[in-house]
Amino acid sequence: MSTPIPPGPAGREVKLAYPIPKISKTTLINTSALLRFTILTVISAAAIASRLFAVVRHESIIHEFDPWFNYRASKVLVNEGFYEFWNWFDPTAWYPLGRVVGGTIYPGLMVTSGIIYNVLHYLNFPVDIRNVCVMLAPAFAGLTAWATYLFTCEMADESTGLLAAAFMGIVPGYISRSVAGSYDNEAIAIFLLMFTFYLWIRAAKTGSAFYSTLSAIFYGWMVAAWGGYVFITNMVPLHVFVLVLMGRFSNRIYTAYSSWYVIGTLASMQVPFVGFLPVRTSEHMAALGVFGLLQLVAFVGIVRRLVPDKQFQSLLKTFVVLAFTVALAVLVLLTTSGWIAPWTGRFYSLWDTGYAKIHIPIIASVSEHQPTAWPSFFFDLEMLIFLFPAGVFLCFRELRDEHLFIIIYAVLSSYFAGVMVRLMLVITPVVCVSAAMAFSTLLKTYMDPVVPSIDMDTDRDSVIIDEKGEKKTPRAYAEKVKASKPGIYGLDTRLAVLTPLVCSLVMFVYHCTWVTSNAYSSPSVVLASRNADGSPAVIDDFRSAYKWLRENTEEDAVIASWWDYGYQIAGFSNRTTLVDNSEYGVTHIATVGKIMATDEATAYPILRKHDVDYLLVIFGGLIGYSGDDINKFLWMVRISQGIWPDEIQEPNYFTPRGEYKMDASASPTMKNSLMYKMSYYRFPDLFGGGQAVDRVRQQVIPNTPIELNVIEEAFTSENWIVRIFAVKKEDDIGRGLPESTAFAKGTKLKKSKSAKVGGAKKKGSQKA
C-alpha cells in the first residue's frame, strides 16, 4: 500500500519519525498507478484461486441443489436457443402438472452464462457449458473485488479501496455462495449489487444522468438475476429520503434519483417473473413514494423562488400536510381495495419473524432461512465484524452524502443478516468496506512519518506558572497548538500498533483459507471423508444412485423423493419428479410428505394415483450423515399436517415422553410410517445380531425385521446414503399386495392385520 507523503507547511521543517527516500512526484504518481493495477489484479486472482478448492479436490462439478436446475436451464438455453428457453415448459417436473419455467424464474444467471458461452465460441474457444457454469461464480467474484474497490474509492481513497477489495476477495461470507460450481443466482448478484451501488453513488455525487442510467441498467440486470434486488429497490430510495430529511436535497439528487427510478423500474418490468410487481406490491412502494416526494420537494423549491418568504412558510405547511394525507389515503385505499398487494410472504417474514413459521412452513423449513447465531458472524467475517462498527463510527465523523449510504446499509443489513443466515451475503460487502475504512485509517495514522510539531510533555515553553502559582499555557504556545496537526510521536508507538495489525491481517488470511477449505468447498453431491488410516476418501453415493436411476429405470419413470433432491434427480438422472426445489406448490410437497409419513396401506393409493415408480430416501444412519431424511422428517409431517390436519398429526410421531426417537420406544405411527420402514429396512441385518446403532441419532434400532408389502428394495448405495424402492403394481390376479407378497415368500397368511390392510388397499386402488 502506498502512503502519500503529506507536504509540510511551506517554509517550515517537518519532523519525521523515520527517513523516507526522496522520490519525485511524477514517479510517485506513476508508481502508485502501476501498483494499484498490479494489486487489483493480484486480488482478483486470489479471489478466483481461493474458490477452486472443490474443483481441485474433486472435479469440475455443479454443487448442491438449486445449481443443478440452473445448469439444466442453461443447457436448454445454449442448445435450443433463447426463445425455446423463454417458452420452456418442463413436463418432467411437478408431475403430472409440469412447470412453466420461462415465466417463473430469474433468467439473468442463465442468460449471462449463455452470452459468455457464445462469445467464447465466437472467439473459437470450444468451452463446455458446464465449465462456464462452474467457473462463473469465481470469475464474478474477481469482478466483485473490482466493484468493491470502485465503491470504496468513492467513500474514502484508493488505498482503502484496495484494502476493501482484498477483504471482499477472500472473506468467507461471500465465498460461501460463490465457490466454483455453486452456480446460483447469488454468484453474479453480489457483483451487480456492488456495481449498482457504486454507479448510484457516482450519480448522486455528480448529478450525472449518464451514471444514473448506467446504474438503472445494472439494476435491471440485477432484477433479472436475483430476488434480492428488493434490497436495492428499498436501499436507494431510503438513502434519498434520509438526504431530504437532513435538508441535503439538491438538483444532483433530483436528477440522479428521477432517472434511476424511471429507467430502473421500466428495466425491471421487462423480466416476465417481475412484470407489474413494481407498481403493485408494497415492497416497491417506498421507491415510488420517494419519487413522488422528490417531485414535490422540487416543486416547492420552484415556488419558493416566486412567492414572498412569509406567505411561503404557511403555503409550505398546508401543502406538506395536504400532500402527505392525500398520498397516505390513496395508498391505504389501493391496498384495501386489493390493487396493491400488502406485505406478504418472504419479505414480510423478515419483519414479523414469527410469520413464516405459522403461514409458510415451506419457507421456514429451509435451513438457510434460519436466524443467525453469533458464531456464524465471526466464522464468516472474523475480525471484520468488530472493525465494522468502528468504520461506521468514522463515517459519522465525516458524514458526507455517500457516508450516509454506508450507515443506512450497515444498520439495515445487520438486521437482515441476523434474521436469516442466507442474508449474511448482503451484509458482507458493507462490512468489508466499513472495516477497510477503519483498518486503513489505523494503518495510515501509524505509518505516517510526520511527527506533530509540538509536544506538551517535553516542550519547556508549554507551561508557565503565573503569579498565583497556577499552571497556564502561554498565549504564544496556544497558537502553536492550534496550528499543529494531530499525529503520532514515537517510532516505538508506531511499531507497537503496526505489528499486531499486520499479524491480524495474516491471521485473517489463514482464517479465510481454513473456512473456505473446510466449510464451503464441499459439492454436497460428493462427500469427503477419511479412511481409518487417515487417507482421504470420497463418498460418492449420490452420484452412483443417480447413475443407477438413469441406467436402470424406464425413461418415463416417476421418482418420488423429498423436494430437496428433485433438481438433482432431474439434472443427473433425467427422470420425472413429483416435487423439486422450486417451492412451486405446497399441496404437492405435502402429498409427498404424506406418502412418507403414513403407513403402507394409506400411501399406496396415493403412490399409484401419482404414477410413482420409485421412492428415493436419503439415510445417513450407517455412516453418520446427518443431513438425511429422518432429520428432515418432522418438516414433512408438519407440511402435510398443514393440508390434512385430521390425518397427520405431529404429536403422534413422538414417544409418549415427547422425544423424537427411532429406537424401541418410537411411537407406532412412526414405526409404521413409510419413511421409517424405508430407512431401516434390513438395517439391523448389517450388524449380524449385534446392536444396530443409528450413527446419526445414536440410537439402537430394534431387531424386529421390517416387512414391506407395497414396495420393494431396488437399490441401496455403497454407504446406504441413498435407498431406492420400487413401487409394486397391482397384483395380476387381483390379490391384495400383502397376500401376494406372503404367497411369494411362501409364508402362511395371517388373517388378522394384513388382511384388513389388503382390503383397504383394494378399495383405494379401485378408486384410482
Binding site: T353, G354, I358, P371, T372, A373, W374, P375, S376, F377, F378, F379, I385, F386, L387, F388, P389, A390, V392, F393, L394, F396, R397, A410, V411, S414, Y415, A417, G418, V419, A438, T441, L442, T445, I454, D455, M456, D457, T458, V481, S484, P486, I488, Y489, G490, D492, T493, V497, P500, S504, M507, W514, N518, R638, Q641, P645, D646, Q649, E650, P651
Partner: protein
C-alpha cells in the same frame, strides 16, 4: 313370528336410545343457554356423558372441549391467556339460532373438576382443545380417531386462528361476535389528538434531540452491535438466559444463550472502541508521553480481548485450529 318380535324389540331399543340421546342433547342445550358464554362447565362425569357415543346411540352433535387449569394454584399462564379467546368464540356461537346450536356445544373441563379425564387421556399439560365430530347425521365423520386436538404449538392462542378452525368445523361458519366496546372509540382519537398537541408544544425540546448527530450515531452503533451479536436469534428461537449451571457460553456452534450474546456484543463494542481510540483519539493527544501510554493501553486491550474472542470461538467451534495468546 319370533323373528318379527325380536326385530320389533330391536327397533324399540333403537328408538329408546335415540330418545335418550335426544334428551341428553336437550339437557346440554339448556345448560349451554344458561351458561354466560354458551360454554358448558363440565366435570368428569358430564364430560363423559357429553362426548359419549356408542354404535347403538351415536352422538349426532359435535363438541368442542377445552381441558384447562384455571385455578391459581396450578400457575397455568397459557390457560389464562387462552380463556378469554375461547369465551369469545363460545359467545359468538351463542348468536346462532337455537336449532343450529343444538348441533354443536362448547365445553370447559377444569383440572380441578376432571382429574379422572386428564388421567385417562394421559395429559401432562394444559390447555388442550379437543373437537369431537358427530358420529351421526349429515356431518358424520368416518375418522377412526375420537377427536381432533387443536395444535397450540402451531397455531398459538390467537383468536383469528381459533375462530377460523372452529368456524370450519361447526355446522355452519359463524362470524366472531364482539360486544360493542365504546372505550377505544374515545381513547384512540383522544390519544392521537393529545399526542399531536403534545408534540407541537414539545417540539422545541424534541427537535434538537432528533437532529443530534451523537444520538443517531449512538443508536446506529448500538443497533449494529446488537444485531451482529445474535440478538435476533434469541428473539426468534427464545434462547435461555444462561446455562443451567450458570455458565455463560452454550455448547455448540448453532446454540447460544442471551447472556452470551450480551458478552459477545460487549466484546465487539470494546474492540471497535479500541480501534476508534487508536485511529481517532490517540493522534489528537498533544503530549508524547501520554500518547504513548494511551496507545500501549489500547493496543493491549485490543490484543487481549481479541485473543479472548478467538478462545471463545474455539470453544464454540471445536475444530477451529487457530488461537492467539490465550489458551
Amino acid at each position: 313370528m319370533k323373528f318379527s318380535l325380536s326385530s320389533l324389540a330391536g327397533l324399540a331399543s333403537l328408538l329408546l336410545a335415540a330418545s335418550a340421546q335426544a334428551s341428553t342433547q336437550d339437557d346440554f342445550l339448556a345448560e349451554a343457554n344458561a351458561a354466560p358464554n354458551g360454554i358448558i362447565k363440565l366435570d368428569s362425569a358430564s364430560y363423559e356423558r357429553l362426548v359419549s357415543s356408542s354404535p347403538g346411540s351415536p352422538r349426532n352433535y359435535s363438541v368442542t372441549v377445552v381441558l384447562t387449569a384455571l385455578p391459581e394454584q396450578f400457575k397455568c399462564q397459557p390457560c389464562h391467556v387462552f380463556d378469554p379467546v375461547y369465551k369469545t368464540v363460545g359467545n359468538s356461537w351463542k348468536k346462532a339460532s337455537r336449532e343450529e346450536r343444538k348441533d354443536h356445544f362448547f365445553g370447559q373441563l377444569d383440572f380441578s373438576d376432571g382429574q379422572a379425564v386428564f388421567a385417562k387421556l394421559g395429559l401432562q399439560s394444559a390447555p388442550n382443545l379437543q373437537y369431537f365430530a358427530p358420529k351421526a347425521g349429515p356431518r358424520k365423520s368416518d375418522s377412526k380417531q375420537d377427536f381432533i386436538t387443536y395444535d397450540f404449538s402451531r397455531n398459538g392462542f390467537g383468536l383469528e386462528k381459533l375462530h377460523n378452525w372452529q368456524s370450519n368445523l361447526a355446522p355452519h361458519p359463524f362470524p366472531i361476535f364482539t360486544p360493542f366496546n365504546p372505550i377505544p372509540y374515545i381513547v384512540i382519537p383522544t390519544t392521537i389528538i393529545g399526542g399531536i398537541i403534545g408534540l407541537y408544544f414539545a417540539s422545541p425540546y424534541i427537535v434538537p434531540f432528533i437532529q443530534s448527530k451523537a444520538i443517531w450515531q449512538g443508536a446506529c452503533l448500538v443497533a449494529i452491535l446488537i444485531f451482529t451479536s445474535g440478538h435476533m436469534w434469541n428473539r426468534i428461537r427464545g434462547a435461555p438466559y444462561q446455562n443451567r449451571d450458570g455458565s455463560v457460553f452454550a455448547q455448540g456452534f448453532s446454540q447460544q444463550n442471551v447472556i452470551e450474546t450480551q458478552v459477545v456484543g460487549g466484546i465487539y463494542g470494546l474492540l471497535a472502541f479500541s480501534a476508534v481510540a487508536l485511529a481517532s483519539l490517540a493522534p489528537k493527544m498533544l503530549g508524547s508521553y501520554r500518547q504513548r501510554f494511551a496507545v500501549y493501553i489500547w493496543i493491549g486491550v485490543m490484543i487481549f480481548v481479541f485473543s479472548y474472542l478467538v478462545k471463545v470461538f474455539k470453544y464454540k467451534n471445536g475444530g477451529y485450529p487457530f488461537r492467539l495468546f490465550l489458551g
